[in-house]
Symmetry: C2
Subunit: 170 residues, 2 copies
């Protein structure tokens, strides 16, 4: 059982108090020590294992990870996960999350977009890195709360920290 530590932007989703070690590959010396890092487990438990990394993480850990939507893990990256009860080799499941916007059907109507539509989002925090994020997937559900998800590389590239608003420019 996972214990919720911090709620995420989507209702019912949380970062748990539990962490596991994600072990990658030593590309320079395959027989040498494998690089690893501690990752928080997000809940509630899903029906497949998925490890979301940034390309910065992927490089540090020697992981090959494609840009994918959450859940689309066929043929994605491999790693080893180690926890208090043992370790498991994942043949796939390591992805770099494709940027996306969660919204309700009402939001989708207001923004004139459909579930699965690919849009562009302009972000300008006035700090010298105005960015238009293309390839952003619209995801619609009654269960969602309006929020765009980008990773740390993307937030760094656009000086987007804290609460930031973007504009869908299509």
């Amino acid at each position: 059982m996972l214990t919720a530590k911090k709620n995420l932007s989507q209702p019912g989703q949380y970062a748990s108090t539990d962490k596991v070690e994600v072990i990658g590959f030593n590309k320079k010396d395959p027989a040498g020590k494998r690089p690893s890092s501690m990752f928080s487990i997000l809940g509630p438990v899903r029906d497949h294992n998925q490890v979301e990394v940034s390309f910065t993480d992927a490089r540090t850990l020697g992981l090959d990870a494609p840009v994918r939507e959450s859940g689309d893990i066929a043929g994605s990256g491999a790693c080893t996960i180690k926890g208090p009860e043992g370790e498991v080799d994942l043949k796939e499941g390591v992805i770099v999350a494709k940027r996306h916007i969660h919204m309700t059907p009402k939001d989708a109507e207001d923004f004139h977009v459909k579930s699965g539509e690919i849009v562009s989002v302009e972000v300008d925090t006035g700090k010298g890195r105005k960015t238009v994020f293309g390839d952003t997937v619209i995801r619609v559900s009654e269960k969602y709360a309006l929020a765009m998800h980008i990773d740390t590389d993307e937030s760094n590239a656009s000086c987007a920290s804290g609460i930031v608003y973007g504009v869908i420019v299509k």
Copy 2:
């Protein structure tokens, strides 16, 4: 004297064989061990000290660094630099490089842009992260070779690794 190890994109500019330790700040425990990382020295020697970091580096090292053009260091971030001969506290000089395009006057004519102009550049490597980089500065000199400079956070945000071409969209 610096010894050139690897030429950079701009004629005469090189990464040297020498490295120094860049020491940041322990924000959680100011009296504790300060985080640090080894940085390559670029040559030839310039008339001021400048430390270019990504926001990923800045976070790891506890550095406060604004987005600036190279050379525009007044009021930028502080750090300590340690080398084989001793260490020095820099009151300013730590920046996150503002993205820019080096080009010759002939290139500027061909692209219909001027030195100092701010443009946007679309990069689409087909890997799911099409990005338009706004706030990109045009820098013109006979000494330059045509190249856009972005940092690792920006390349990760746009899946731009290896040789990548962009389009100036203004």
